[in-house]
Amino acid sequence: MEDRSAFIADLITRQAAVHGGRPGFLRGVCAAAAEVLSASGAGVSVMTDDGTRGETAASDPASEHIEELQFILGEGPCMDAFASRRPVLIPDLGDPSTDAGGRWPFYTPAASAGGLRAVFAFPLQIGAARLGVLDVFRDRTGPLTAGEFADALTVADVTVAALLDRHVQARDSRVREIDNNDYADGHRAELFQAQGMVMVQLGVSLTEAMARIRAHAYAQERRLADVARDIVARRLHFDTEKP
């Protein structure tokens, strides 16, 4: 799992380097997602909590078109994944039992006409903090394998971390160090509790709260789990210090 996460982070970074800058990073995510998930393409839309679309990227022009389509039409798997806070997995857009045509009467025929056969949308989120959606496109029908599904979740997680960290490269070994081990000690819940506490301490959004906690962990070279534990135990307050 850790190795897989590192592998995917490296792949994103290599792909991102081709384009450069933050747009390059999002392009890198799309290219990496398309590669590890045997997809014909992928798209990422960064969104604010009210669903307003910000930056966007796609692996190729055809995918960019499909990604655009749902925002033009105001419907599609991406929007549903964002609204429902869960993945939307459509292995066959033409399958009557899935009824994609009923769910998205405008998107489904338009995307199908563009050659899309299957689509898998993954929210970029941590609990109630929403950052956008990753869309995976295929020109053939069929479900993601269990391994591909797990990889897609990992791509989404790496992307969320990178969007929060802004200036830190996904490849940076520090990312792995601060994220290291937050499951093994059984303290995972504390990270989210700390996120809620810091949101109130600083009067910022839930997303920004996690960004500040991560920034603190980098600056102090500490594991996220340890920082979270100090926040929950009230040994560390964010309202009295510069992040």
Binding site: R86, D185, F192, Q193
Partner: protein, 243 residues
């Protein structure tokens, strides 16, 4: 542990099934189930863990949300009875924690230090898949499950699996994956809400949870909805503080 009368058993299953009928909150339902399971066999604590698609076990609900107890559930992603039940698909029963340090070097001493004497885990099965486990801790010496207890607790565990299917009609494997990810994310929202309420009201996270749950019950609202409102709607938080 104790003999369960058929009347009591029937009552509990009817109560549990009754919750499943209408629009229900999955996490709240699982909490009720763990609470019932604990009272049924006189257990010290009962928790329910779900496996995410990457094989990690996530705490979803417990008869008690005490921080140290949640840690005990959560750290079984690396070793412990739940991991064994998930891997083998078979219940793990009547393990003496005092003698289990060789089997689970990290988990057993911590569970024993928390005051538990015995531990049990029941696989949460869905068709051919094992998607989690129900974890039972005994506090008294010799507080073992009897042969008659085992199928009863397994049956309650199977009801939890049905609940996962029921929340939204499951047509196919894809929908189950969507469901599981949604449930795991809802759990994160609850942790975030604990942090927000703890910080706003000067409480511990354990106390914050009691406040959130009490508020949801008094207002007949879903726990997940109230938790979500706490992290996204400052006015909802203000109403909770005033109540």
């Amino acid at each position: 542990m104790t003999m369960i009368s058929p009347e009591r058993l029937a009552k509990i299953f009817v109560e549990v099934a009754d919750t499943l009928v209408d629009d229900f909150d999955l996490i709240e339902f699982l909490q009720t189930l763990t609470y019932r399971a604990a009272s049924l066999v006189g257990a010290g604590a009962v928790g329910l863990l779900l496996a995410d698609e990457r094989g990690k076990l996530e705490f979803m609900a417990g008869s008690d949300e005490d921080v140290s107890l949640v840690e005990l559930f959560q750290l079984q992603t690396d070793e412990g009875p739940c991991l064994e039940a998930v891997r083998t698909g078979r219940p793990v029963v009547n393990v003496d924690l005092g003698a289990a340090a060789g089997r689970w070097p990290r988990f057993a001493p911590r569970a024993a230090a928390a005051g538990f004497h015995s531990v049990h885990a029941f696989p949460l099965r869905l068709r051919s898949q094992v998607i989690g486990a129900l974890n039972v801790f005994g506090t008294s010496l010799g507080g073992n499950l009897t042969d008659a207890d085992v199928p009863v607790i397994q049956a309650l565990t199977d009801v939890a699996a049905i609940a996962l299917l029921q929340e939204r009609a499951i047509r196919q494997g894809e929908v189950l994956s969507e469901q599981l990810q949604g449930a795991l994310n809802s759990r994160v929202v609850i942790e975030q809400a604990k942090g927000v309420v703890a910080q706003s009201m000067g409480l511990t996270v354990d106390e914050a949870f009691v406040v959130i749950r009490g508020y949801a019950r008094r207002h007949s609202r879903k726990l997940t909805d109230v938790a979500h409102a706490m992290v996204t709607d400052p006015q909802a938080l203000a109403r909770l503080k005033d109540s």
